[in-house]
């Protein structure tokens, strides 16, 4: 028996010693596996996080929602029509060539053809041109107030800078050259989609001198190598963290957090303090939700706390929140959503059903069954809708089927739908111009197809507003109108803590966290 023990122990030891040796390796299990590697073509959060590893941004938003210089500093003309960006010294691509203004212009153009806010910004842009070897300017046809918020947006799609030869790829074709100028380099040869992504420290990266704050400030890298290891089984990930085989879990399953909390070798911390907003979206084209009164009735039937508790379970991690643009952001307004956040609208909902003469047309719910963060909302909603008098039919299916069916504009019995549920990081809803479900473009807009010209007028006024105060007032007006028309229903906010080995320190918080700069192993 002793010999067997010794043999197994030797094998286990060999498994450690035979691994490739890097001075410092951080092994992380992210919230999802990396498959799509083009952060402009794909809007998934894991692809955004991959982008932050290997690319840098011209500017970046800090923890006070203030845009700071990152690769470039900028100045604005008095009339607000010309923005001049000057690249800082020493910027190099991973292949050693210098970053040029032409690269940044090509990157902004590619991103601006894909991103919701970027497209709006580009509609104001008259030209983008290099000034000299280190600077370029954006000339606007008319003032676009949130230009710096747009270029400094912290979440999908982030305007990452790429070499001109890469950024020249059409935005609807995936890039295959992963040259960036960010703090890490992507190791293409070790990339196994669904299994592992590997990043090496970019030795040529020169961090800024300021302390890190969200995606802004100095990105000082302390690890030579970072491995993202995909683990489809939550319990395995917890076991691997407990045994020290991995160092970091971005989003351990919330049910399993108590196991980690009792382990002194593990630290639990919320790295994304804004968290996410879960939401319901109705189809404006098909009955019964082509009637604003019935949309409003459906919204009033919901109680955010029920959704959040079913989804998260832990009351400490949830926040019922009326602010469409997110609680904890600079546009944290309750206007219009008080009853929905409090969950006190059921009687009004019943009255609205009666007033609208609801005829029992079935409400078809697209029920996602395979994504944990989207599984519970349809069940809670079906119960709430039935309670106020709606006739509900739930269609269980996997997320890919939901995502495809959500684009069907036809009646529910011809492959369409009436209500579906989604989830967005708060960083993606904190500006009405970038908010996916805050457009009024009808059949040309986001699925659900809200045809609300007045909403678009308000958004246009917001875009042109010259001051922050004016933008805040308009944002409040936009939210009030969006609630009145029920463009969508926020179902509350929640955070998802990360867990990591207690010898790690220095994690930077932010809306796209985890970031892997500034993190180091305590000696």
């Amino acid at each position: 028996m002793f010999k067997i023990k010794r043999l197994i122990a030797s094998a286990a030891l060999a498994s450690v010693t035979a691994a490739p040796l890097y001075a410092e390796t951080l092994r992380a299990v992210m919230h999802s596996d990396l498959r799509l590697t083009d952060p402009v073509m794909a809007s998934s959060y894991i692809t955004r996080d991959h982008g932050y590893m290997i690319y840098d941004t011209l500017v970046a938003m800090d923890e006070n929602s203030v845009v700071r210089p990152q690769m470039a500093d900028w100045s604005m003309s008095d009339d607000g029509l010309v923005y001049t960006f000057t690249l800082r010294d020493g910027l190099k691509w991973h292949d050693g060539t210098p970053v040029r203004p032409e690269d940044c212009i090509a990157s902004l153009k590619r991103w601006g053809s894909r991103d919701t806010m970027g497209r709006q910004m580009m509609s104001f842009v008259a030209s983008m041109e290099p000034v000299d070897e280190k600077s370029f300017r954006i000339v606007l046809s008319e003032p676009f107030g949130p230009l710096m918020d747009t270029i400094g947006k912290p979440s999908s799609l982030v305007p990452f800078m790429m070499p001109e030869r890469v950024a020249s790829t059409p935005a609807t074709e995936a890039i295959s050259d992963f040259t960036g100028s960010g703090p890490f380099e992507f190791v293409r040869d070790e990339f196994q989609p669904g299994v592992k992504a590997v990043y090496l420290k970019n030795e040529d990266y020169i961090p800024r001198n300021e302390p890190p704050s969200w995606g802004a400030g100095g990105k000082v890298v302390h690890f030579d190598r970072v491995e993202w290891i995909n683990m489809p089984d939550s319990q395995t990930a917890i076991n691997a963290l407990s045994s020290g085989e991995v160092d970091f879990l971005e989003a351990p399953m919330m049910d399993l957090l108590p196991i980690l909390e009792s382990n002194p070798e593990i630290t639990i911390k919320t790295l994304n303090p804004l968290g996410g907003q879960t939401l319901a979206r109705m189809n404006f084209l098909q009955p019964p939700f082509d009637d604003p009164r019935l949309r409003r009735a459906a919204a009033l039937s919901f109680k955010q706390e029920d959704f959040l508790l079913a989804l998260v379970g832990n009351p400490d991690l949830i926040t019922p929140c009326a602010a469409m643009m997110g609680c904890g952001t600079k546009m944290d307004f309750a206007v219009g959503g008080e009853k929905i956040a409090a969950g006190t609208g059921q009687e009004e909902a019943k009255a609205l059903l009666k007033e609208a003469g609801y005829d029992g047309t079935p409400v078809v719910i697209l029920q996602t069954t395979d994504v944990p963060v989207l599984k519970t909302q349809p069940v809670v909603a079906a119960d709430a809708l039935r309670a106020v008098g709606f006739n509900v039919t739930s269609l269980p299916m996997d997320w890919q089927s939901v995502a495809t069916r959500a684009r069907n504009k036809g009646p529910a019995d011809e492959g369409g739908w009436n209500i579906m549920f989604s989830y967005l990081g708060v960083a993606d809803v904190m500006n009405p111009l970038g908010h996916l479900f805050m457009d009024g473009n009808g059949e040309q807009g986001t699925f659900g197809w809200a045809d609300l010209p007045h909403l678009n007028e308000l958004r246009a006024e917001f875009a042109a507003a010259p001051t922050e105060e004016a933008r805040m007032a308009l944002a409040k007006e936009i939210q009030a109108y969006a609630y009145e028309q029920t463009t969508y229903v926020p179902l509350g906010q929640f955070v998802s803590p990360s867990a990591f080995r207690s010898d790690l320190e220095g994690f930077v918080t932010g809306p796209a966290a985890p970031y892997f700069w500034n993190v180091k192993r305590a000696r």
Binding site: S15, T172, T404, R405
Partner: protein, 315 residues
């Protein structure tokens, strides 16, 4: 007929089977709801952008054109590129082949080494406590879900004793020690059901032959009991055992998703499931073709192996 002609005939006979599988899989996938373009571009994409992505991926072509293009690629042994990651499908399969084959071979070897002697022993000692114990083990092996056994063994050997790693795979190129330390737990877990299955099959097959005249004759000639059991009886009972072992190997190669997930093994099973979830058509199509080919090949090898054990079988 020389064996080579038999093999060629069998291989040719697989062509219509594979063609049927190819057509069936292709059509089934296209009829399944889901759009890879939506999976790639996400909620922000406009209809125009989705149209452009479909065009870039040739998903806007008529089904017949897509099918012919795919078949032309397959004939050139080119499985195309993943719609999602953009990497060649052959590269994705190659990345997953070593873990899958390694675990399958270690599992089946362990299973045979344990189950065949156990089956012989229980047949020899029919009705004894050894027999009853082995039958009870078989029932347990069939009944307990594989993930329950997996978590129990992980808790004991990886978390409490820290003898073995919790998860992952180490290729042989990293050395035999790391390879075995990573392979042993998943192989033991997987082998529980195969030991139960092969042991029961061996026992039943042995019971069919153990009372035959030739076994009695072997004893009368003075053969030792192990020689009687393993040389004479087992050889005559080998055909059904071989069939079960071969089928088990094919099952292990085509993917054991739960075990791969629990032990975080980057195997073919997970590749297939992930591709299905993302509607990654080229990967799914290639995996189903490869799996079909594996089944065909293993069945052929089993048939050929029959003649090694039973000289009456000739090709």
């Amino acid at each position: 007929m020389p064996v080579i002609f038999y093999v060629l005939k069998r291989i040719l006979a697989t062509v219509p089977v594979m063609a049927f599988v190819a057509i069936f899989v292709f059509l089934l996938l296209r009829l399944t709801p889901g759009d890879p373009a939506v999976a790639i571009a996400g909620d922000q994409a406009t209809e125009e952008q989705l149209r452009q992505i479909r065009a870039a991926l040739s998903l806007d072509q008529p089904l017949l054109v897509q099918f012919v293009t795919w078949i032309q690629q397959i004939v050139r042994l080119d499985f195309g590129k993943s719609l999602i990651s953009g990497l060649p499908v052959s590269e994705l399969i190659a990345q997953r082949l070593e873990p899958t084959l390694s675990i399958a071979l270690v599992t089946i070897s362990m299973s045979v080494l344990v189950a065949v002697p156990l089956g012989v022993l229980t047949a020899w000692k029919q009705g004894s406590w050894i027999d009853r114990g082995a039958v009870a083990f078989s029932v347990l092996g069939f009944s307990i879900p594989v993930f329950v056994i997996a978590y129990m063994l992980i808790q004991l050997f990886a978390i409490d004793l820290r003898w073995l790693p919790v998860q992952g795979f180490a290729p042989l190129s990293r050395g035999l020690g790391p390879f075995l330390s990573h392979a042993i737990l998943p192989s033991v877990v997987l082998s529980v059901i195969y030991v139960a299955l092969i042991a029961r099959m061996t026992r039943a097959a042995m019971l069919d032959v153990i009372h035959e005249d030739f076994v009695r004759t072997a004893r009368a000639k003075g053969c030792t009991e192990p020689r009687v059991l393993f040389r004479h009886a087992l050889r005559n009972a080998a055909i059904p055992i071989l069939t079960v072992v071969g089928t088990g190997l094919a099952l292990l190669i085509s993917g054991v998703v739960v075990t791969e997930s629990v032990f975080n093994l980057p195997g073919l099973g997970r590749l297939t499931i992930d591709a299905v979830m993302a509607r990654d058509y080229p990967v799914i199509q290639a995996m189903i073709l490869v799996t079909s080919a594996v089944y065909v090949l293993i069945n052929l090898l089993i048939d050929l192996a029959y003649s090694l054990f039973d000289p009456r079988i000739k090709y």
